[in-house]
Amino acid sequence: MDMSFTPEQIAFRKEVREWIDSALPPEIKRKAENGANFEHDEVMEWHKILYRKGWAAPGWPEEVGGPGWDVAQRFIFGEECARANAPTLSPFGLGMVGPLIIEYGNDEQKKRFLPKILSGEEVWCQGYSEPNAGSDLASLQLRADKDGDDYILNGQKTWTTHAQYADWIFVLCRTSSEGKPQQGISFLLADLKNTEGIEVKPFLTTGGTDAFSETWFEDARVPQENRVGPENEGWTMAKALLGHERTLIGGVAESGRWLAATKRIAASTPVGVGTLMDDVAFRRRIARLEMRRRAVGMANLRILAAAQVGRAPGPESSILKLAGTEVYQAITELAMDAMGHNAMGWFDSPLEALPEPQQWIASQFNYLRACTIYGGSNEIQKNIISKVILGLPNA
């Protein structure tokens, strides 16, 4: 067991750092340095730059366009991206449906979808939750009835993050009402832009942005060839995908940025003759969270390392979701505390009243109340741990 890096890995880090520094477009770099919010177009611009370099999908196997990195390289790359404050790529294609197609898709589907996920030419969103199927996901009701070579979809998905920007959506839908709710679910890929009968309605969040939307299906036709895996057996795949999702949404890399931002804010906030960063009581609060975050980061690394040697991230990834999101939220709360009166502001406050690095803090603080709710609420994660890992009995 060791944590040291080989000379090759140290050289790799240098290469990554220098490349990111030279490859970040000036406006994105300026925003990164100021901790500002990235627009969707900017995220996609960075995606395409990474794609041209061959680094868009660090976790994908080489034969489908991954860079062929080992865990240490992926770790280093992740650290350097976070260090540079580079935009975080949308996870729905690269991190979720991509790996799912790699694992369960047929050759046609791999050929059709993977290259455009990788290049960013097609943007994806996720159709899992429904108004009456949140934590109880298996009770989902979006109907898919067979008609010739197609399914006809009727119903509604919600929390379809970034659907307004997406070209494609992956949906869980009901293809049978026989048996337990978990049976009879299928996994379909639908063309959002070119399918009649699909309507996307973004809605405003408390963060003041329209990160989420509702997606409506009314007699929307999806070819059966767009079904991944066998009919009525989508639930297993849905769960596997949630395993991928949980390792992503613990927010370990993102919470590191927030920690850095909090320190910058504290260092630029006058208190008496010094700054908030001179206040030992406040420094201790930062230190506690920074130390806790390291614990989650190390757990993340252990779980990813275990997954690399042929084991998929298992139910233990639930602890990353649980502990990661809690520390993430706590860091955003601390950033708000660091701002003092400035925490009253909003992202459209005039720069004279609220300096740019603090403009998006309140929005993100509000938005991130969602992180303990999405991806299977933290209470659901506790159910998973107690049932699947600890084997505690059902009520």
Binding site: D2, L322, Q381, N383, I385, K387, G391
Partner: protein, 384 residues
């Protein structure tokens, strides 16, 4: 970067686990806590035979050239059985200091017999007023004709009651709080002028309060450089903290696993209590803390040998904080979930609880480590 155990490490883990199961289950500790010494020299000798006392020392010192990770793996398993032999005080603290800073003569005289299981050691550093400040040292060592004269008092000396030799931190120059001026001495525990008061701890283990009333030591008893003892002492106490995390991991894991089993076995309202969601969620939260402890414990063990003091301190403080806070969460709710039986002496869970609380207060508590972390130079950078 690699988190897999080597074949040798897996063998060590398996053999210590077997030892705990066959030779030193918790019942053995139960009996020994009634005895004066609290541990058994013949079992210490047996541990030496297995090579566990030698594992991390360099080969030229009679060791196996292993790493701190090997020590941590052994300690984790020993913790599962509450094995009371003085592994941390003797092998990690005092033995570690002699191994790293001792002359060849000192190695031969004090380290070799310990590695062979014929003696045990202790490190006397804490004083009544010092709390966790290693530079706060009132015990003095004044130059005498043949060497030094020690005067002062040390408290809570782990294994101080039984050790054959003690490493004593004493001031050879400067004032009470000065960073320089502390030196380390190797003192025979039966030296004239040295008196020991046995102290039985809450956890059933033993330490000593030791008075040095004009104890004469020869010049060759100085360990390392004169006046430069603080850095070695910090190094040793850091390793102590990493060792506490490792042993504590064994106890936390044991408490947690026993609790989950209890939730499955104990029935109330005609069902196993583990079927209640309130208790399931508590168990899930405990699981997360156990895993986070394991992660930081491994990281601390890996970095305990790091020459860069900043890295070493950052990781060890993070791990000790996690043991003290996350571990506390596990230990207190283990008792809560066990219910009333948990506070009876006949139920083992309380023994683990007490040992963990002792480890909690050793080598820096949570506040101490948070404070040390924020005072690291690199903390002022964006993130460590």
């Amino acid at each position: 970067m690699n988190f897999d155990l080597s074949e040798e490490q897996q063998m060590i883990v398996d053999s210590v686990a077997k030892f705990v199961e066959n030779d030193s289950p918790v019942e053995r500790f139960r009996e020994l806590r009634q005895s004066e010494q609290g541990w058994e020299p013949q079992m210490w000798a047996k541990m030496a035979e297995y090579g566990w006392l030698a594992v991390a020392y360099p080969e030229e010192q009679g060791g196996f050239g292993g790493s701190f990770v090997d020590l941590a793996l052994i300690l984790e398993q020993l913790g599962r059985g509450l094995v009371p032999e003085p592994y941390i005080p003797s092998v990690v603290l005092a033995g570690g200091l002699i191994s790293k800073f001792g002359s060849s003569e000192q190695l031969e005289r004090y380290l070799t017999p310990m590695i062979e299981g014929r003696s045990s050691l202790a490190l006397a550093y804490a004083e009544k007023q010092s709390r966790y400040n290693l530079n706060d040292c009132l015990t003095r060592a004044d130059k005498s004709t043949g060497g030094w004269t020690l005067k002062g008092q040390k408290v809570w000396v782990l294994n101080g009651h039984a050790a054959d030799h003690l490493i004593v931190a004493a001031r050879t120059s400067g004032e009470q709080f000065d960073s320089s001026g502390i030196s380390l001495f190797i003192v025979d525990s039966d030296a004239p002028g040295l008196s020991r008061i046995l102290v039985k701890g809450m956890d059933g283990q033993r330490s000593a309060l030791i008075n040095f009333d004009g104890v004469e030591v020869d010049a060759d008893r100085l360990l390392g450089e004169e006046n430069e003892g603080l850095a070695p002492l910090e190094w040793a106490i850091d390793r102590g903290a990493a060792a506490a995390c490792a042993e504590g991991q064994g106890e936390i894991s044991e408490m947690f696993e026993r609790t989950v089993q209890y939730l499955k076995d104990r029935r109330q309202f005609k069902v196993p209590i583990g079927s209640f969601q309130a208790l399931q969620h508590r168990a899930a939260e405990m699981f997360a803390e156990v895993e986070l402890c394991k992660s930081t414990m491994i990281l601390a063990a890996i970095q305990a040998d790091n020459e860069d003091a900043g890295t070493r301190k950052a990781e060890i403080s993070s791990a000790k904080l996690q043991l003290n806070d996350g571990g506390w969460f596990v230990q207190k709710y283990a008792l809560q979930l066990f219910g009333g039986i948990a506070i009876t002496d006949e139920e083992d869970i309380g023994l683990f609880f007490k040992r963990l609380r002792v480890l909690n207060g050793l080598f820096g508590d949570a506040d101490y480590h948070v404070d040390r972390f924020q005072s690291l130079e690199r903390f002022n950078g964006e993130s460590i």
